[in-house]
């Protein structure tokens, strides 16, 4: 019998639903899970899929993608590509795998929640495909890392990282627990599909893929590109949700997008900003982090806001200024606290690299170069103890990232709120604003410093903190080039650059 074509049956099947008789609607679809408070049930009938797909179509396309990735993977294994990579480029994949693989797995849970609880049957149906996408992404990154585990134990952190207390992973997990695992369907769709995936994943999966390809990490580049084809598709699910919410509760839409945009930006400053502007070899960089942000994130986000009748966030001018600095602060912090990392950071401040940084960020030398100068002096004097931390940095109670890393050292201001008798500190007035909007959402959580002070990390010293973070000697971070780059600053000419 000839199979029907998709268009023959799609209109009947895509909003399959029925009237509940054994349970109350509010029990089967609690508002806390659906997020549909304030939106009449009938309004969700207008939720239209931004793309059409059947299971048969989906499997056929995904099978081809998988075959493509597998082909490249096998060819690269035979060519021993990984063994010949620049160590700083390899470090990007260690960092990426640990930081993002389990985010994909958390997205499976989020999309599973949409498939069960989303307030529209069309949304529920199409979320099944997104769930399969995210399963593929997590499994791809695990299998890629498994292949490379024999070359470096850091690839074990692809699976392990999210089961540790490594401070950077805790920052990512905090965001994901909040928005992927605990938010209702409507809020999660705006924060994750619209903001994180549509807004930011281009940074990690397009920009980084291009840089990785240029730097010879073909397998990693191919993996990222394959994942992004799925992300670009299912991220569109956020648009019909936004369209409906704008008609019934535009203030809520504005709040969710503004809060999640800032929080996502802070994480991408740490992950992609450092990889693009410091780890990628300078002659292989296609764009700076700021240039890519302006072209791929800022313009796109502004257009989305405008098209749907939203305002730019009140912190927009601050955000634009932070593009010049925040990732440099995070990079310096990560390099200085390098024993707390599970990858080897590249300082990326050789003479040639500084020249590039100054050409892209005119204030770099005055804001950051002077701090690196002191570090370089200590390295060249053999005073390595002074290039390493003796304590923990102050951490933000919202983003979990070091205070002072959203902008530059001239804009480090004390930001705090008191709630139920406890003082909470923030990296910026924007993070404070997020907290003050919904203090009960965040209050009570202990960041790494709070846990240290509470005696939850023993012994209470840096060694105790490293053990608590599961950092072991074979993965502990150290300068990826073993400080060789600093030697050129011993020569007098270095002072003229």
């Amino acid at each position: 019998m000839r199979l029907l074509s998709r268009d023959d049956w799609y209109e009947i099947s895509h909003d399959l639903d029925w009237t509940l008789s054994y349970v109350e609607e509010s029990d089967a679809f609690p508002a806390e899970w659906t997020g549909s408070s304030g939106v009449p049930k009938a309004a969700w009938q207008a939720w239209e899929e931004p793309f059409r797909v059947s299971y048969r179509d989906y499997v056929a396309v995904q099978r081809e993608k998988e075959a493509g990735v597998a082909g490249v993977r096998d060819a690269l294994k035979r060519a021993h590509i990984y063994e010949h990579l620049d160590p700083a480029v390899a470090a990007i994949s260690h960092f990426h795998m640990g930081a993002l693989c389990m985010v994909e797995q958390m997205a499976v849970t989020m999309l599973g929640r949409f498939a069960r609880f989303a307030p529209s049957p069309r949304w529920r149906n199409i979320s099944v495909f997104g769930m399969l996408d995210e399963l593929r992404h997590a499994q791809l990154q695990l299998s890629f890392s498994h292949d490379l585990l024999k070359h470096d134990p850091r690839f074990d952190w692809c699976q392990k990282a999210f089961h540790t207390n490594e401070w950077g992973i805790l920052a990512i997990r905090n965001f994901c627990d909040d928005w992927l695992l605990n938010a209702n369907c409507v809020d999660a769709a705006l924060a994750v599909h619209l903001t994180l995936e549509h807004g930011f994943t281009n940074m990690q999966f397009v920009a980084l893929a291009a840089d990785a390809m240029e730097a010879g990490d073909i397998g990693f580049s191919n993996l990222l590109s394959s994942i992004q084809t799925d992300e670009a598709r299912h991220a569109q699910q956020g648009f019909p949700t936004l369209e409906i919410l704008m008609k019934h509760d535009s203030q809520r839409a504005q709040r969710v997008i503004d809060v999640s945009f800032w929080r996502a930006f802070r994480l991408f400053q740490a992950m992609t900003g450092t990889a693009m502007d410091y780890y990628t070899p300078v002659d292989k960089r296609k764009m700076s982090f700021k240039e890519f942000m302006l072209e791929w994130v800022v313009d796109q986000h502004e257009r989305t806001l405008r098209d749907y009748g939203l305002q730019r966030p009140w912190y927009w001018e601050t955000f634009l200024k932070c593009l010049d600095h925040g990732h440099h602060a995070l990079h310096l912090g990560m390099w200085f606290w390098r024993p707390t990392l599970f990858w080897k950071p590249n300082a990326g401040v050789s003479r040639a690299e500084r020249q590039w940084l100054n050409s892209k960020y005119p204030d770099w030398e005055e804001s950051w170069g002077v701090l690196w100068d002191e570090i370089i002096r200590n390295i060249n004097n053999g005073d390595m103890a002074k290039t390493l931390p003796d304590t923990l940095p102050a951490l933000c109670n919202l983003t979990q990232l070091p205070i002072g890393t959203h902008w530059d050292r001239h804009h480090l201001e004390r930001c705090e709120s008191t709630y139920n008798g406890r003082t909470y500190y923030f990296d910026s007035d924007v993070s404070k604003w997020c907290f003050d909007l919904e203090p009960a959402r965040y209050a009570g959580h202990l960041n790494v410093v709070d846990r240290f002070v509470a005696g939850l990390i023993q012994p209470p010293n840096l060694a105790g903190a490293l053990a608590w973070m599961s950092i072991t000697p074979e993965v502990m971070g150290d300068d990826v080039y073993d400080y060789r780059w600093a030697a050129e600053f011993n020569r007098p000419a270095a002072r003229d650059t």
Binding site: G333, I403, R414, V449
Partner: protein, 83 residues
Amino acid sequence: MVMVPIYGRFIGDFTAHLVAVDTEDTIADVAAKIAAHSVCRRLPAQSAGSYEVLIDGRLIPPEVRVTQLSLRPLHWIDVRWKR
């Protein structure tokens, strides 16, 4: 003698630090403890430079002891080069 954890920021550095001070420490001791995480690590030393301490925007004399202040855990303390 009781240890008090505070957040110490040396003005000019890019972050603040968790610093353990003692109730018997003078403000001059506190300044030195905070500066130790920034000066000669990321900020160059200043010859003949000395520090001054600000708590909640007020300049605190160097001889004052921590026990004389009402510091709460993780109180924010700023240190800068003496002007």
